[in-house]
Amino acid sequence: MADPMKIRAQMKGDICDIKILMSHPMETGQRKDSDGKVVPAHFIQSLSVDLNGKTVISGQTGTSISRNPVFGFKVKGAKAGDKVTVNWLDNKGDKRTDEATVS
């Protein structure tokens, strides 16, 4: 199981600013280790951001996303106290779900 995500959801005016830091190696499958063997690809393929249980943003990602990915999103219609849930799923079937409260 991967490490928890860090999620910050903050109201800025009537827009909720969501910053997500995921902990993931994001191996491209192009890199070789010290023995010259190719390190198999291991990367997040999909993610979703839910506001109070309803998906507002969903994404698909490839190997070009940096290691320990950081995403910044904006959501309308949120208010302080609302629940933001973020899910991701990688190409090996690992997944993680974390929650944060809008402040």
Binding site: S46, V56, S66, V70, K74
Partner: protein
């Protein structure tokens, strides 16, 4: 007369079955969304192929679609890119790095409530054009691109 009545009943029946499946959680909308990783587009080895797989070959310019990217990235492993679409009815934004082994980097869909703006950090293997493609609800595509110079590549390491 009877035939029409039967057809109406039948279509109501299938609609009802779909609703029942949704209610039972067999067809969870979010799960379906997450499962559809666009393999063709993400595994395309050149930018043109990825754009084609997205269906965005005829994307036009639009001044309401903008991208913020550094002109020179000292570290190709972490290049911050921000894409903002002010085009009304934007439903998705995709980001491509032309010269990466697999150009398509990410693709985001925005449902009601999601503002079509996204900030990501990308790996760039070498100096390359970075492209953003926005799709609107009426099926039109728009694109914007910017060159990012890389002094140290993000791959191999």
């Amino acid at each position: 007369m009877d035939l029409i009545r039967r057809n109406v009943l039948r279509s109501a029946g299938t609609g009802g079955a779909l609703a029942a499946m949704l209610a039972a959680g067999i067809l969870k909308p979010t799960a379906v969304l997450a499962a559809e990783w666009n393999k063709n587009a993400f595994e395309a080895k050149d930018s043109a192929g990825a754009v084609k797989a997205l269906g965005a070959a005829n994307a036009g310019d639009n001044k309401d679609l903008s991208m913020t990217a550094p002109e020179i990235a000292e570290n190709g492993a972490v290049v911050p890119i921000e894409v903002v679409s002010k085009i009304p009815g934007t439903t998705s934004i995709s980001i491509l790095v032309d010269k990466n082994p697999f150009p398509l980097s990410a693709s985001f869909d925005f449902a009601e409530g999601g503002v079509p703006e996204v900030a990501v950090r990308l790996k760039l293997s070498q100096t390359s054009l970075v492209k953003a493609i926005a799709k609107t609800a009426d099926g039109k595509f728009y694109t914007v691109q910017k060159e990012v110079k890389v002094t140290v590549g993000g791959c191999g390491g």
